[in-house]
């Protein structure tokens, strides 16, 4: 039997982390979690997940981008999802649609928080090619 895949979740909002962990475990994955960018960086020293989900704004406004950059440098093949509550309504729009954005945002997918569990599962499966 194939080993269960391991998903890393980093979020400083304890409720968001709890819920994300619950959902991802329900989908049949193992999870490792961290509650800050700094903790996340530390976790990466010893762990190699199959996929990572990072919150965007933690200690720094761009903590999620920093973590994506670091994980991609170490493990270029690990897919990364950035999940954030930063809204498009305020004009703070970014995605991965243009070449320029893909150049500096080292993530594979960008999701708004409040995403439905089935959508999340679909995105994870797509990135893990399940």
């Amino acid at each position: 039997m194939e080993a269960r895949k391991k998903i890393m979740i980093v979020d400083d909002d304890i409720d968001s982390l709890t819920q994300m962990k619950m959902q991802v475990e329900r989908f049949g994955f193992d999870t490792i979690t961290a509650e800050s960018q700094k903790e996340g960086e530390k976790l990466l020293e010893t762990e190699k997940p199959n996929l990572a989900i990072f919150d965007l704004m933690m200690e720094n406004q761009d903590s999620g981008f920093i973590l994506s950059f670091k994980i991609k440098k170490k493990y270029p093949d690990v897919p990364v999802i950035i999940a954030t509550a930063v809204t498009a309504e305020t004009g703070m729009i970014f995605g991965l649609d243009t070449e320029e954005e893909r150049n500096w945002i080292k993530a594979d997918q960008y999701l708004e928080k409040g995403i439905r569990p089935d959508q999340l599962q679909r995105e994870i499966n797509k990135l893990l090619k399940i």
């Binding site: 400083d12 968001s16 509550a85 409040g114």
Partner: protein
């Protein structure tokens, strides 16, 4: 010294060289400007050439004759307006065509100098147009910066409001789907967390209202002698339940009355914020030491705690909007991130100041001084 580029459009070489000579060593300065301006002159003998020049480089001021061999000056003016170039236009025109000059100013020219003009007339016209250009640019810049700040505030605010909504919605969804079974007891943590997040939102909303009142200046401030010791006691009573939960002791203050002229509501907000921080960022079983005194016509409030303290870097960020010091020690502490920014704004309304001394794992001490 900054240099403005002046394009002189006239088919008479004498006028062009005359303007060149007059403006050569001429500078414009006003007390409100950081630096004086001088002028570099570019000449064009036709309207067509003028348009070509304006398309190719940033021109600040255009001195424009109307009667030109090809297209007329007024058409050059229309072109500049249509393209929205950031240049001011001054018409140079003979008295015979005053009607036209008036028409040009209606069409967006800044003003006109009638031909023939004396060097002094040209110079004073240049002073006016330079002042106008400077003020226009500076006010545009200030507007843009203001909008930028507002935009940042709104995007952080929306993040701060959406996070609890998402958290609560997520828990409700889990409960609706009965993801951990039929026993309501198994959802206790989720219900408690939801209530906690709602409480946080309520605090954020009331802090936002405080901040809006302060910033709009709409709030009528009611100045009268305020008994500071009494306001402190009320704030302490409000915060006492939270302090008891953490076994934090708020030291009583001397009972002597201290009065200053102030808006009582504002002083309450200052105390509430300082005291609740001193309790929230304390250690269990810690202390809050408050000092109140008035000397040399100044009220001094000190609130010291025996809590987690801050590093120098953290202190330097402390008074910004939505700044919450995030580290392992603070991860379970809730707050809007607006409290100290509100306190600072209020204290500044009184021409007072707020200082902070802090040491990690020892505690922080906030000192507010307010002149009476």
């Amino acid at each position: 010294m900054a240099t403005l580029k002046v394009l002189v459009v006239d088919d008479e070489p004498g006028i062009r060289s005359g303007i060149n000579r007059i403006l050569q060593n001429f500078t414009v300065g006003y007390p409100f400007m950081d630096e004086d301006f001088d002028f570099s002159i570019i000449e064009a003998e036709t309207g067509e050439k003028a348009i070509e020049t304006i398309d190719n480089q940033q021109i600040d001021i255009v001195l424009l004759d109307n009667k030109l061999p090809g297209i007329h000056g007024i058409e050059v003016l229309e072109y500049i307006n249509k393209k929205n170039y950031d240049a001011e236009v001054m018409m140079i025109t003979s008295y015979a065509s005053l009607d036209l000059a008036v028409k040009a100013t209606n069409n967006g020219a800044f003003n006109f100098v009638p031909k023939p003009f004396t060097p002094q007339e040209l110079k004073s016209a240049m002073e006016n147009i330079t002042k106008h250009l400077f003020l226009k640019r500076i006010s545009r810049k200030m507007n843009e910066e203001g909008q930028q700040l507002r935009f940042q505030f709104l995007s952080v605010l929306s993040h701060e409001l959406k996070s609890p909504v998402n958290a609560i919605e997520g828990y409700l969804q889990i409960m609706k789907d009965k993801q951990v079974g039929d026993n309501i007891g198994d959802y206790k943590m989720m219900i408690e967390r939801s209530l906690e997040r709602l409480k946080g939102m309520r605090t954020l909303i009331s802090d936002l209202l405080d901040l809006t009142k302060i910033e709009s200046g709409v709030k009528t401030r009611d100045f009268r002698p305020v008994d500071i010791t009494e306001v402190f006691r009320i704030a302490r009573d409000t915060i006492e339940p939270l302090a008891n939960q953490r076994n934090v002791k708020i030291q009583p203050v001397q009972e002597e009355e201290i009065y200053i002229n102030a808006d009582r509501g504002e002083i309450e907000i200052i105390f509430n914020n300082l005291l609740s921080n001193a309790v929230k960022y304390n250690r269990d079983g810690g202390e809050v030491i408050v000092g109140l005194k008035k000397q040399n016509g100044k009220l001094e409030i000190t609130v010291a705690d025996t809590g987690i303290g801050m590093t120098e870097e953290e202190v330097s960020k402390l008074f910004g909007e939505f700044v919450r010091i995030k580290n392992m020690k603070t991860k379970n502490i809730t707050g809007s991130g607006l409290g100290l920014s509100i306190v600072k704004k209020l204290v500044e309304l009184y021409d007072g100041e707020i200082r902070v001394e802090s040491q990690p794992d020892v505690g922080s001490k906030f000192t507010v001084t307010i002149p009476d």
